[in-house]
Structures are given as C-alpha cells and as structure tokens.
C-alpha cells in the first residue's frame, strides 16, 4: 500500500546521506500512481503532488532522522487538509422546519440515505418528516414509505401525478402544521448534464429554501466525481456531501476531489444497506483508507 511504499522509498534514501530533489521526484511519482489507482481525480493529484513536493524538499524532511516517516506524515497531513480536518455537522440553523434536500446521480443511495438520516436525527431528539419527491422511478414513493415505517418517521407523499416542486411545497405546509422540525426531501436520481432535471432541483430549492443541499455520491465513483460535483454545485450551491457504500472495498479517492473542487465538506458516511449503517464522516478514516 501507499504508506508502506513511501516508508520503503524514503528509508532507502537515508543511507545516501543527502537527499536530493531527484530522490523526492521518484517518491512523488509513486504517490501520484497510488492516488490515481485510488480514483483521486487526476487534476487534484497534480496539485496535491506539487504541494507535497514543496514540503518534501524542505528541511522538515531533509534534516529528519527518519525521512520516510516524515513523508508519510506529510502525505497524511495534506490529505486531511484536502478533506477538511475536522468533521462538520449538519446545519439545522434558523427557523423550523429545516429543509434538507438530497440530490445526486441515479443509484447513488439517496432514498436509502434519506431513511438513515431521518433515523439519525430522530435519535437526536428531532422530529423529522420524509418527503417522497421522486415521481419517476418505479416504486420510489413506496420505497421511501417502507423505509419511513421501518425507522418510525412519517412520509409525506402525493403519488406520482403531482410535480416534485408541488410535492415539496405542500410538504412544507404539512411539516409546519404537524410541527416537524426537519424536512428531508428525497429527489429522483439525475445526470448533472440534464438541463430540465437540474432546473427542477433549482425550483425545489427556490420553493423550500433548504439549509442543506447534500450531494449523495457513491464512494466508488471514478474520475467523473469532479464533473458531477461541479455540475450540481454550479446549479444549486451544494452545502455538503454524503459518501455512500463505504462498506465496499473501493478506495474512495473521489472524496479527495469533492472538497478540493467545491470547498464543501463531506458530512456523512453510508456504511451498509441497513438504516443504522450511517455516521458522521471522519476525514482521518478516509485518509487512512486511501493511504492503505
């Protein structure tokens, strides 16, 4: 894994006395290859390696008794900076009900995550309501209703003949009436390049004024993660991300790209199919996963 490779490469250099820029370049090549293999976006890798180089040819490595260990530490540090060093909680500020919109590509895990998030908030003393705003996918409304009943959270649905914007608007009024303090809107999966469907999301945003617009992304996403994040962010001003399927053995390099490109934090991690497989995102765990 990357961390072992770095250790070995740099400890090999110790015996040479003075560490040269050439030596560092070779090690950085290893870092570049390992990050690309972990699905980190190639532009993010370029910038990342350039920053590492600056630090690695500085005194903190060259005059260190154990340059290998120091380099691993620098790589870890720089990764943490890219992920945002501390966990950032969900924002539920302002007037109730607080609206949270879940958006993303087809099959990313939005509906499942909606159920998980509802349970998570309910356990923390909130009174959430789920909104079935996907009128396109076969049985999507039913899927959310089943999850809602599993976690004991009410689901607002109006079938599939009413527009998602209308459903969202009506759900808000219902939440006010019912005194729910968080409204979690599950939306249909879509491509960021679909103009019409991106307009629909903007309309839902305009009519419900959400405090959180969370892009739900599969941890195994490849190089396209940057385009997807940029596309959703440009149209909606995303407030954060939820990374799903972290129980897979995907390295999750896409995560490094998200914050680099939007400067927004990953707020939650999906760790399985069950409703309790959900936790606040820990940047250090992901950095460790990518480093191997």
């Amino acid at each position: 894994n990357l961390s072992d490779k770095l250790q070995t490469a740099f400890n090999r250099l110790r015996g040479k006395g003075k560490v040269t820029e050439q030596d560092v370049t070779e090690v950085l090549r290893e870092v570049r290859l390992a990050l690309l293999e972990a699905d980190v976006n190639y532009k993010v890798v370029k910038d990342f390696v350039a920053r590492l180089k600056e630090r690695a040819i500085g005194a903190e490595v060259m005059e260190n008794l154990n340059p290998g260990q120091q380099v691993v530490k620098i790589v870890f540090d720089e990764m943490m900076k890219l992920l945002g060093e501390t966990a950032v909680p969900i924002n539920l500020e302002g007037a109730s009900p607080h609206v949270v919109m879940l958006v993303g590509l087809q099959g990313a895990g939005k509906t499942t995550t909606a159920g998980k998030l509802a349970l998570h908030l309910k356990k923390r003393g909130r009174k959430p309501m789920l909104v079935a705003a996907d009128v396109y996918r076969p049985a999507a409304v039913k899927q959310l209703e089943v999850l809602g009943s599993q976690v004991g959270v009410p689901v607002f649905s109006q079938g599939t003949d009413i527009s998602p914007v209308q459903i969202a608007r009506n759900s808000y009024m219902e939440a006010v009436k019912n005194r729910n303090d968080v409204l979690i809107i599950d939306t249909a999966g879509r491509l960021q390049i679909n103009e019409e469907l991106m307009n629909e999301l903007q309309a839902i945003k305009a009519s419900t004024n959400p405090v959180e617009i969370l892009l739900v992304l599969n941890a195994m996403t490849g190089q396209a993660a940057v385009e997807v994040a940029e596309g959703f962010n440009e149209r909606l001003d995303v407030t954060g991300f939820i990374l799903t399927q972290l129980d897979s053995d995907a390295r999750g390099g896409a995560a490094l790209s998200l914050r680099a490109v939007t400067d927004r934090p990953i707020k939650f991690a999906g760790l399985g199919e069950k409703m309790d497989a959900f936790e606040p995102f820990h940047p250090d765990r992901l950095a460790g996963r990518i480093l191997g």
Binding site: T112, Q223, A224, A250
Partner: protein, 278 residues
Amino acid sequence: LTGRGTIDEETYEELEDMLIQADVGVNTTMKLMTRLRETVSERRLELGEDVSDVLKEIMIEMLSTGDHALRSSPTPPTVVMMVGVNGTGKTTTLGKLAHRYQSEGKRVVVAAGDTFRAAAIEQLEIWAQRTGSHIIKHQAGSDPAAVIYDSLQAAKARGADVLLADTAGRQHTKSNLMDELNKIGRIVERERGRPADEVLLVLDSTTGQNLVQQAKEFSRIIPVTGVVLTKIDSTAKGGAALTLVEELKIPIKLLGTGEKMDQLRPFDALWFVDQLFE
C-alpha cells in the same frame, strides 16, 4: 484533442491524460501507451491524428473478446440472471431486456429474486406490467433461492421462452451475501442440469477502478458470462472496463444508455471507444 500536426511527446501526453480521465487506470494506460509507441514506430507514422487512430484500434482489439451476443438455450426457457453491487441498474436492465424479448414475440417470466430491499418487488412488478411479463414473487424477506427455484418451475410449466431473474444488490466484501449468490447459482444448475445461460454482471460506468475488483470477485462466486455497462449516458466513460476485459476475458454484452425501456444497446467496441475519445 486535435491530434493534428507532427508527433511529439505532447501527442502522447494528451492521449495518456485522456485515458486516465476516462478511468482506464494507470496500469492499463501504461500498457496501451507502450503498445501505441511500438506500433507508431513500426508503421513509421508521422501525423498526430494517425496516433489517435492507432490507439483506437488497439483499444477496440482489447475489447473484442468472447461472444458479445446474448446466448439462448437450445431447450426453453433461456435463463438470464442479473447480478452486481448495489444500485448499478440490475432491475432496470432486466426490465429493458424483458421489453426487448417481448418485442421479439417471446414469452417472458421474471423472477423477483431481490427479497430484501425496500419495494424491490414492487419495482419489478411495474416492469413486468410494462412489458407483459409474468412475475414470480414471494413475500418480502423470503428466501431468494426459493423464488428462483419457483420461477424455474413456473417458466417450464408456462412454456416461457425466457426467464429473467433479478437478484439483490450486494457488496463482494460481504461473504454471507456472496454465499447466498453462490447458492442461487447452484440451485439453477441443479434444477436444469446446467448453469444459467447468461449470468450478467451489471456494472455502473461511473465507477472507478473498483469495477475490476467487482468483476474478479463476482466471477469467482458465480459463472459470469457477460457484463452490462450501465449509465454510459453519464459524463463517465467506463474506461475501467478495458482492464476488466483484458484481465478476465469476460465479454461486455450490453450498454445501458438511459432510464427508459428502449435504452439498451448491444455492445459495440467502436461505438464505445469513440465515446471515450469524445
């Protein structure tokens, strides 16, 4: 990517960047670039656009392996099973296949083999209605192997031409779920004396290098006969499929190009490579 003018290092760098961005992965990219340089020098090529064409040629050759057509059984029903990790498009692809077979005048039975996920059975029921297929389903939470077993009997009894079996999404990191899939495969084999005609591994084109791992692990557990690459209509290029085909020799049989019933096309290596270069 104009690729015009004389060939220099920049010509190769641009192509290398394109491959990486397309999820082709580091190792396969290096293999392709080595083969490319050798061929360019062998053929004494001089123009940048010739280099692009040679790369396309090499990639098309890499992707043309095995039989890309869907198999059919000499004695009906033909049995097709959909497998893969969560959310890749198994159920939707099954619906598209049901539509395709129906438009060929075939009698189709579909099996609701995902007994776990919320509303999975209801989702398949809607596809069955849309395509005039008969659905075999049990209660949610029941044994998927029992549903598959029942559907084999029903397909035979009804004289169906095709049986399309859906299974639940699962991560190959979960050994109990992979055991369940293995058991389903063995039940089909025991019941009809041979494995399913097609075990289609459904892969999401937006996935990075993990695509290869998915193919390796699933094909260890069940005899995967082909790959479906879905969501090729997204901005992702599905380049990790090259490594998969190169290393495992499993043919890509179908491409999912959207969410509608008719958005399924037979795999075409030239089409696939062209979209990767766009």
